[in-house]
Amino acid sequence: MSSPPPSSDPRLAVLAAEPLAAAELEQRLDEILDAVLSTRRTSTGLAQAIAALPRGEQDFVLHWTGVVARTNPEMAYQFAAAAPAALQRLDLAAAEAWIVQAMDAYDRDGLYRGCAELKNIDQFAGLASGSSYGQSFDEAARVLQLFLCGLSGRRMRLENAAHPYTDTETIYLPSRLATLPGREENFQVYKAMTALLWAQTRYGTFNLDLAAALSDVASPQHAMELFGYFESVRLEARIGLTLPGLARDMDLLRAGQGSYDLRLERLRQPDAGAEDSLALMRELYGIFTPPRCCYMVELRWDQAMAVRNARIRREKAQFRAGLTELLDQHDAGTEEGDAGGGFSVTPSEPDSGDQSGVALMLAGKRVAPPANLQQLMDSIRQDLGELPDDYLVPAGDGTYRDVGRPENDPADVWKGVHHDEGAFFYNEWDCRRRHYRKNWCVLRELDVHPAGPEFVDATLAKYGPQVTQLKRTFELLRGEDRLLKRQPEGNDIDFDAVISAYTDMKNGLELSDRLLTRRHKAERDLAVMFMVDMSGSTKGWINDAEREALVMLCEALQVLGDRYAIYGFSGITRKRCEIFRIKRFDDSYDVQVRGRIAGIRPQDYTRMGAAIRHLSSVLNQIEARTKLLITLSDGKPDDYSDNYRGEYGIEDTRQALIEAHRSGIKPFCITIDREARDYLPHLYGPVNWTLVDEVARLPLKVAEIYRRLTS
């Protein structure tokens, strides 16, 4: 490598792009990977491999090694080791997608899966020649999900996995497709896979006892492969009957692979079933090789059976419980109280509109099942082909009633029984990766233990005159019907105006056109969410001031009639973000709410991003023209782990606020942190925050600020 040129050299920019030497790389890698290196494991080998790359790629590797190391140094080491080979096959955009997917796997399933994902370069390799035409699962998922929902059948979910298959309730699709040249074509491949997997569950692929059928073959794997292929052929023909356009699209994707083998003709008949595929599998076992096709899907029989059997048991219980309910209603409706005769089913008339094709009868008369029972009927018939007789016996009293799982108590979560159950999951923005960490924060709603009425009474006594004053000013804000006079447009004649206009006219003056009255209603179509900092740092008089402020605010808002909710937030680590319900939108300001305000106690840390995301979604369920999210805070976002303190936390909070803003919420922050000027403008924008530098004045100020904000 040539010696570095003097800084005045005009070729500097070009020469700066000169690759780094192995020695320098080694030094940088040593700094980054310090934690996982030892005398036996050095970064020399890594540095030599990276030294062979052009400068742009070297920078890329160093940058991402640094980013990954902040999450896990071992992952970073594995990445640095895999990167030179990967960059031979991937361009930078594809490589970024590759790393982010591996990091997502690490976040979700830990180091082992994360490192395994780093070996999965093939999936992204197709992108190297043209990242523009690959289609990612994330991009296609929502359209596919809606498409699937429209196709009906039972509700199915979409998830991504390495290979396409279904367990009969979830359809798994690869996270990226770049098999054909063109984004649209790759989307079509996704669509074809989705349709085929949906058809497997819809048209009875899993309603066979395959295990018994495969017990005597030498290679169950080959047999399964054959059966899977024959089923695809059969299902495509089946799709062609009901969805001819889709079948045409699938034909186009298969173009160039010739027509079907003549021996498969039987499968393409309208009445062919899964047993025909099975019979053909026995016939052609060992002498037929299925051709490959771009939308080929897999059969994972054991997984599908486990899900299917669990569903059949569950739905039988649910269906029978539903019948009991229906019978109860029916009995209540008839005067004799005896329906006489049980349930039965008959094929429904073609014009009755039943999608399931059967009608439920009770004592020889048709009954209309509620929508959920109808769905169950459809789902059961998909699995079993019919409604067996033992399904039609209503569950006895009390025996099948309890079909759901017992409600989990959020307070039990740290006892380790159900770590993630019943919680909300939120993404978190990682500013270093410049990507979201998926489902990173586990958030729960908890209740505040109410305290006695003493605190509220004391506050009202302390601020008595101010409360009265506050109420009076808020009364002025209240929107009321007013009769506007002398309007150019309106509902009625303003006779005073008409008379004066008449005199004007007589006197030869110009006529006014303002002769009408109009009722004007100034509506306050407003919903406000107060998000109260309950972190440990509020302990002491800040907490007192916060509680007093909330009492004053509620008193004032009672006059105004605005819809508002109050939630507290705190938590420790991403696994335990906590939101405390103090007053929900539906709650009225009563003894319990007063007790909960008094019961606000300092908790742990302030992971603000998750709290903002959750409360935004609560606020967005309310219909209002203006939605305000007002944060009462005493400092920067902070948490115990993940380096949430500092840039990471601030950027995540900012991202959460941007998301809230995009969904139509106006965020505002009231803080008592004197250093707020340094970071709040970055978070909330230059004007959407205010500093109350005397804690003692907070109770009076908050209501005041609210009034200013909303008038």
Binding site: R142, V143, L144, L146, F147, C149, G150, L151, S152, K191, A195, T242, L243, P244, G245, L246, D249, P350, D351, S352, G353, Q355, N491, D492, I493, V498, Y502, L515, R519, E623
Partner: protein, 277 residues
Amino acid sequence: MASKITSLEARVLKPESHFIEKEPYYEQVGNEVALFEAAYSSQLPVLLKGPTGTGKTRFMEHMAWRLKRPLITVSCHDDLTAADLVGRYLITNNETVWVDGPLAKAVRCGGICYLDEVVEARKDTTVVIHPLADDRRILPMEKRGELLQAPKEFVLALSYNPGYQSVLKELKQSTRQRFVAIEFKYPAPELERKIIVTEAGLENGDADKLIKLAHMTRNLKGNGLDEGASTRLLVHAGKLIARGIAPRAACNGAIAEALTDDPEMLRAVNELTSALF
């Protein structure tokens, strides 16, 4: 009785003297015709419930034709006041003149007053219809100090869509409990096909595909769509197809774009269309 005045641009009709002469096409789904006629004979007001495009307005036209009464339709909006319905004073030639609103007109001529989407109107409007909707059958005209007694031919009909109500726009119990309610649903496939074939002049095969598409979009209700495709949209699409527009394009224009603005939902509906056609 019908107004025969012909102008150069369009026929000018007085609503209270406008009788529907040609039978509006209507397929009975249940027993709604008999129910309405019975309510008419018993002088009971009628409430039509159901999602948009299921034939509520067409049913009203059909009944007006059947009963040979003029139909006065008021499309309610959030600025509609009681005065808009009852009437108001206007000034002409140095004096005030009272002008009846559509509701008063309908009461005077013994017609059918149809308040479409009544929950959209302001709350005070629902109060003026209360005395008309119970056995008093009177319309108080406060400004004139008069009570207008409805003749036995007068019918008050409201329509409302329980589907997309916000909590703010619910019909009050005191209002809804004065009415005979008739529910409108999407017709069964056979009937819906007949409607599309008759209205749009389409062949059975294409009509069946349109109906399948409608069912698919109705599956999407609550998953991103507020409503599925109504029979009206199917008729629109059918008319376009009958005019020679390619089916995929017709469904995109008449159904997908009419249902949603969300690009991903549009894409999904179009994918469903192209799966069928």
